[in-house]
Amino acid sequence: MASLVIAEHDNTNLKDATAKTVTAAAQVSTPVHVLVAGSNAGAVAEAAAKLAGVEKVILADDPLYAKLVAEPMEKLILSLADGYEAILAPATTNGKNFMPRVAAKLDVPQISEILAVESPNTFLRPIYAGNALATVEAAAGKKIITVRTTTFKAAEATGSGTVEKIGSAGDPGISKFVGEELSKSERPELTSAKIVISGGRGMQSGDNFHMLDKIADKLHAAVGASRAAVDAGFVPNDYQVGQTGKVVAPDLYIAVGISGAIQHLAGMKDSKVIAAINKDEEAPIFQVADYGLVADLFKAVPELEEELTKLGY
């Protein structure tokens, strides 16, 4: 029986997280179908249909789905659930919001943030902020799964699935989207960037984060932060990398003025290469860093910018 992937998108672009979830879904149950719920999201559906392994895209195009509000999403996914053995969504703030509603209504447990599919009914997932890994076996019945996308490769855009349009499944009428304030940035998104440079409490102010912006512009990197820097008001909440923020696994993670609390490490320790700049040589960040530089960041970061400029970045 088939699996259904709930697409993550902004009504214009299909997010990389969807392509990665398709890879996970193909290991659970095939064929893979993708649900694109959105408003004027035809281009997203076309992009999803091109993902390798996707047989069919179901497009529910209605203003009701413009912001993937949880209550109408629950209703829509439930209206399609009968035909699927597994329903998967990326573990984004959207997937985390509506998927447990679907699981509860189907009277099945949800398997959150899987890191690997060991067999079609056995999954690896992190617990205790990633300080332990649990291998769990699902009982018979539908499987509702959210996927930590950092550990799955994106399905390539080499497929040729079909697109089927469906109507709205109706508005429960108990909630509505009011507005949003999104961080505007020309840089890549934190969760899909190849290089991430993050600042911690050591940055001392929001203005000082501009030093990191300059490096990020040179390296085409995303800028992140530790919880301490977010709590201090240096940068907005969506910069936060860690157990309760975003989980990233770029090729290179540069930690600047970050001590390396367990909760932060949980969000970045799967990065391929970690570099750390901190003036405290005892900082726990150095225990996970491939390259550590004990230095005052206010000297080292401008120097880093100069060195990169010299090399033509």
Binding site: V102, N131, T135, V136, P172, E180, E181, A295
Partner: protein, 249 residues
């Protein structure tokens, strides 16, 4: 309006977690246990609603072993009015927790249930949303700010790209994120007072809920360890290593 606040007893967030050698779980023997940090934020928000005259009563619920009663006492010391302890040993999955909470909601009829967005032990991030679905209530998850109106609430949420505001009809479910408030410390007089507040003891059977886990944990293992690398002396050396040794820039 009554406000219901579920609180979970978990390993203290400062404790270094150790996986048991037999791979059956993590070692909880003689380990400090505390209220789930997100639940402290829920309790704080509920108590503030009462202090502002918007809530009439704050009820703290915990589902767990006898010692979860201590977690309820913590909530009572912070300002909750009474507690309900649903005694059960062993792991209770979010779906079973949500079913028990639904039965309590049916009995108590709160206008708002405030939960932590996730517990720091199983990191599931499910219970609030599941409870909302079972009740057919709306939800505002990962709350950053709450504005209570007449018959509805506006909840500002922390989402991947920034902040989003939704309006939900009451009764509703809210799950809280880190920056909603800063929980207070209970004062000694309030800790003393909390000892006299009532805690009702129940069992899952009282609510007709079977808590047998539906997911089977085959094993719990340690994550692959990262070994610490090398210290470099200068920025130039760092850039050289990143470019020529690691090949990541």
């Amino acid at each position: 309006m009554k406000v219901l606040v579920p609180v979970k007893r978990v390993i203290d967030y400062n404790v270094k977690v150790r996986v048991k050698a037999d791979q059956t779980g993590v070692d909880l023997a003689n380990v400090k246990m505390s209220m789930n940090p997100f639940d402290e934020i829920s309790v704080e928000e509920a108590v503030r609603l009462k202090e502002k005259g918007k809530a009439t009563e704050v009820i703290a619920v915990s589902i767990g072993p006898q010692q979860a009663g201590e977690t309820i006492r913590t909530a009572l010391a912070m300002g909750a009015d009474r507690g309900i302890l649903v005694k059960v040993d062993g792991d209770v999955e979010p779906l079973a927790v949500a079913k028990i909470l639904k039965a309590i909601v049916d009995a108590e009829q709160p206008g708002l249930v405030i939960l932590g967005k996730q517990a720091i032990d199983d990191d599931s991030n499910q219970t609030g949303q599941m409870l909302a679905a079972l009740l057919d209530w709306p939800q505002g998850t990962f709350a950053h700010k709450l504005e209570l109106g007449e018959g509805s609430a506006q909840i500002e949420r922390e989402i991947d790209g920034g902040l989003q505001t939704v309006e939900v009809k009451l009764p509703a479910i809210m799950t809280v994120d880190l920056r909603l408030n800063e929980p207070r410390y209970a004062s000694l007089p309030n800790i003393m007072k909390a000892k006299k507040k009532p805690i009702d003891e129940k069992t899952p059977a009282d609510y007709g809920v079977d808590t047998t886990p539906r997911l089977k944990v085959l094993k719990v293992t340690e994550p692959p360890k990262r070994t610490s690398g090398v210290k470099v002396k200068t920025v130039a050396e760092l850039v050289d290593k990143l470019k020529n040794e690691a090949g990541v820039i």
